[in-house]
Amino acid sequence: MVDSKQNKDVQLNDLYRDTVLDHFRSPRGTKPIDRVDIRREGNNPLCGDKLEMSIKMSDDTIEDIEVHCKGCAISVASTSMLAELVPGMKKDDALKLAEGFKQMMHGQPAPEGLDIGDLDSLEGVKDFPVRVKCALLAWMTIIDALRADARDDDQTGAMTSTEDKQD
């Protein structure tokens, strides 16, 4: 008899590491920023998690970010880690990081040489397949935000949904 994947060896402590809980309890990046160049919303229609992301750019660099996430510990922590990591990053590097984290969540190792900061504490999420979307919400949102940079393209009302893409 085939039982569905039972992550027997995986402990809850692997999912909710202290770093994750810390980001959940005091999320970073919630302070208002003084100029918004790109604004984008994200949602996870399966569980109702929602976030609002505002980015201040200077040329190709993310100068500052403000992000508010209403959701579970995993999505809030992942969003908070993003807010900690991306300021000061070039747009292309932020996209690389986002793609690298997506790979990680899909069970592949993070690309060599990528500085993933606190994101390594979310590694355990990959063993809880139904929670992977929670971890990816903020990252999918920033990918869409940066690809359709609002300085060229009005994103008012644009929404990233974890259900849009099957990657």
Binding site: G48, A73, I74, R131
Partner: protein
Amino acid sequence: MATVSTKLRDPIVPDKREALDVQRIRDDFPVLKRTINDKPLVYLDSAATTQKPKQVIDAIADNYRHNYANVHRGVYTLSAEATDLYEGTRSAVATLIGAPSTKEIIFTRNTTESINLVAYSWGLSNLKSGDEILLTEMEHHSNLVPWYMIAKRTGAIVRHMPLRADYTLDLTAGLDMINPQTKIVSVSHTSNVLGVINPIAEIAERARKHGAIVVVDAAQGVPHSKVDVSQMDIDFLAFSAHKMLGPSGVGVLYGREELLEAMEPFMGGGDMISSVTLDGATWNELPWKFEAGTPNIADVIGFRAAIEYLEKLGMDNVRKHEIELTEYALERMKEVKDFTIFGPQDAESRAGVISFVQEGVHPHDLATILDREGIAIRAGHHCAQPLMEILGQTATARASFYVHNDRHDVDALMAGLSCAGRFFGR
């Protein structure tokens, strides 16, 4: 972290007051013997779908083994047998809900399809611009979206009866919203989030005065209590077999014969016609006019075993059992700090579906933590986003009970909740 005890369940000492012999019932459900993450399964998501007793599983397998053929089509014995069994379920459904005639029982895929059938077949030909469709603020998406779609096509307006602070329907305000423009009043019998049971008879009486038709979403009603259409002056009633021990893929629409008679078919194809020529077609009689194509034969046949199972227990006992268990759960939930229940506190007036949030633990995280203990609850918006908005939540956790649940399951849930509280409070 502390874990919930995994020791085998001691039988609860039989008590004459218990409405159901849960110990015996549990033996009928093969899935309850399995473990999840090495813990015995505690299934608390019957509002989403119910587990199946072996009687239902066997009935489906028996049909495939012995009596399976297409229905209404063959002259041969096997087809006649399959047809008799298929139509036998229709009679059982009619008896269960007190429908005067089997012509009024239409098999669909689920509640959602049943409501869409009414929306399209009745709505499209009877609604015009400015007409009103009256729903409530507590509806499931399946009793919202079809009406939004029909409103868009016809110019009709959708309105919602409001809720009171205690989460029940504000009947005074709601009844006042019924007026001569109101053509359809469509309400849930029981809310899948709040557990609120709505006063259908009073709503129907007012709707009737103004000539509106009444549609009842009884997806959470028929499985849990005696629902008798002859006792309520309503026009349509929708429910799903999968929420009442039956197979998935079978829904029911009860409709009043005169209305069904006058309606255009929902879908066209085989079985629903009386004759087809190169110029057109005439429709089959009720109820087959609304059952286009080969139906879900074996599952409809299996559904009868579910109805028989429930009837043997007695719908009144099912209801009593759920009240007992809900009362116990509500009482125990009072022990939990920073805990909000969205729904009435009085078990007698509500159904055995309890939505809640625990401060500091997101429902999604709670569901993951409980899953580690083998406990299955639902976390999310429960397909009722407008209601979530009113509750001011993006998600809630929800535990729901059925005939195989007992106080052990509630105790396991409570242990899981305190475990989650400790985990996030650490």
